[in-house]
């Protein structure tokens, strides 16, 4: 098949059917935008999870009757560990104060005695410690006599993992849905285009055009629509990101210490290339079905 001629004819097709194609591209861009937004969510959640996972924290709750010497010894052991960055001793009074501050409740709670709050050692691990490593440190520390309970935030991480998994599944489901939409919408658009160009197709066939020659431009047109939809969605997403990320950043930084990130280069590439490929597939399927040469 002659590519140059196919491109020339596809360009003419795009020009002649632009109304039809604009409608298709716009609606598909919305679909891609949903997918892109979900992917953006996944990317950020993933980044946050990685960051938090790496800035590990362990809280050792101390027994009420713990020997101060045991506690001191525990601190020495902890500070000797290469994975440990910092150890802070939180007394019941401090714990109560920070609780009251954070909880922001009425006067009736402020009458709580400080004995309700156990003393603890807040252990901050160095950057880059894996979750498994922090888990094993926590298990070992639980053996110490002064320790009543260890909180390694495992269940919290599990929740985050679940959230992340859910978000990924959502993205996957949306990706499949978008694929289906692209194939369906572009397939339908191409079907209309084929119907409108019946006469030209007939003339070309009478002159001896091969199937590939007749079908080529339609496949290119579908490919272009898929690509254009994905590009439009990415641009809209980028615009939204640029407009909002500063205000979101400051809130998020205060809350979690992380910043918003945009989609990675590979994700962007996959969206655009995927749009083009699925568009081409959609039109090829349609052209095969409605253009029996």
């Amino acid at each position: 098949m002659d590519m140059k001629s196919a491109i020339t004819r596809a360009r003419r097709g795009l020009r002649e059917e632009r109304r039809l194609y604009i409608v298709a591209v716009t609606s598909l861009a919305v679909a891609f935008l949903c997918l892109g937004a979900t992917l953006l969510g996944v990317t950020n959640l993933d980044a946050a999870a990685t960051r938090w996972g790496q800035s590990g924290r362990i809280t050792l709750f101390l027994k009420d009757d713990a020997d101060p010497q045991d506690i001191a010894q525990l601190r020495v052991v902890l500070e000797g560990l290469s994975d440990v960055n910092e150890v802070t001793h939180v007394t019941p009074e401090q714990a109560r104060a920070s609780f009251l501050e954070e909880a922001d409740v009425g006067a009736d709670l402020s009458s709580l005695p400080s004995e309700v709050f156990p003393a603890s050692l807040e252990v901050t691990l160095v950057q880059g410690v894996t979750r498994e490593r922090s888990e094993s440190i926590a298990t070992r520390l639980a053996q110490f006599r002064a320790v009543s309970d260890v909180e390694s935030y495992r269940s919290w991480f599990q929740k985050l993992d679940h959230l992340l998994w859910g978000a990924r599944m959502l993205a996957l489901g949306l990706a499949l849905l978008v694929m289906f939409c692209v194939v369906a919408v572009i397939g339908n658009t191409i079907r209309l285009a084929v119907a409108r160009r019946r006469q030209e197709i007939e003339v070309m066939k009478l002159c001896g055009a091969t199937n590939g020659f007749v079908r080529g431009p339609f496949v290119l047109e579908g490919m272009f629509q898929g690509f254009a939809s994905a590009l439009l969605a990415v641009l809209a997403l980028l615009a939204g990101y640029l407009a909002l990320h500063e205000s979101v950043d400051s809130t998020l930084a205060a809350l979690t210490g992380s910043r918003v990130v945009f989609l990675g280069a590979w994700t962007l590439l996959a969206l655009l290339a995927g749009g083009a490929v699925i568009g081409a597939i959609g039109s090829a399927v349609s052209v095969r079905r409605y253009l029996s040469v």
Binding site: Q199, E200, V203, M204, L206, C207, G208, T210
Partner: protein, 262 residues
């Protein structure tokens, strides 16, 4: 792309000058005992036999519904025969695969009553399409389309939109499209059907000019005033069979003449 690389997988089918000597002496088109059924009990064509020599001009006539269009469709493989053979340049086109049909059609020029030109294309584009499908370089397309337009009397009208043309001019564009790839055989299915008598003669003359350069022409028409003005070989399809009148309608010997003219 360089030179004049034109895809012609069947050089076999080439017209006039390029065909080999034994090819030239053989008829370009032979129909052998051809049957075509649209209804199982009543064949539209029953046992049609026909032989057309290279460079011939042949009128095909017959009442409406006789099967003139059907006969031509069998030649350009819009339809397949149910029985018998259609030989084009000695090749049985009934046995061509779907994939080879385009290559058969590249050796045919087809003209219809309803012109079949694309209104929103220019005159040039309408003619050029026949060469574009051959992946011919643009430069060559331009010169050959200009040449074809000149032959049909539309020199310099290439950039015009075809929607603005008159019926006669539209048919000339269609003829230019048919002749521009220099086909061996032209099939014209009532090309004058939509034109007034004066224009009809013009178009007929155009086909005769094309014929005079060696191209074989099959001209289907039921316009007897047209047939009677010329002395070409004439065949009539009557009740599914071909009836031959070598000397044209004026000397028609058979009984069919009254039904045909009447």
């Amino acid at each position: 792309m360089q030179g004049t690389k034109v895809v012609r997988p069947f050089p076999f089918f080439r017209a006039g000058a390029r065909a080999s000597q034994p090819q030239l002496s053989k008829p370009i088109l032979v129909l052998e005992d051809v049957y075509k059924f649209f209804r199982p009990d009543q064949p539209t064509l029953r046992g049609v036999g026909l032989s057309v020599e290279r460079g011939e001009f042949l009128f095909i006539t017959g009442p409406s519904g006789a099967g003139k269009s059907t006969l031509l469709k069998l030649i350009y493989r819009e339809l397949g025969v149910d029985e018998g053979r259609v030989l084009f340049c000695g090749r049985d086109i009934g046995r061509l695969t779907d994939k080879s049909i385009p290559f058969l059609r590249r050796n045919l020029g087809i003209v219809f009553q309803d012109f079949r030109i694309i209104d929103h294309w220019t005159v040039f584009e309408n003619v050029a399409v026949a060469l574009e499908i051959l992946s011919m370089p643009q430069r060559l397309i331009r010169s050959r389309v200009a040449e074809a337009l000149e032959r049909v009397g539309l020199a310099g009208r290439g950039p015009e939109r075809t929607s603005n043309l008159s019926g006669g001019e539209k048919q000339r564009v269609a003829v230019a499209r048919a002749i521009v790839p220099e086909p061996a055989l032209i099939l014209a299915d009532e090309p004058t059907g939509n034109l007034d008598p004066h224009l009809a003669i013009d178009i007929l003359t155009l086909f005769e000019e094309i014929n005079s350069t060696g191209t074989t022409v099959l001209f289907a028409t039921h316009d007897h005033s047209l047939i009677s003005k010329r002395d070409h070989r004439l065949i009539a399809i009557d009740e599914g069979r071909v009836v031959e009148a070598q000397q044209g309608l004026k000397h028609w010997p058979g009984s069919g003449i009254h039904t045909l003219v009447g």
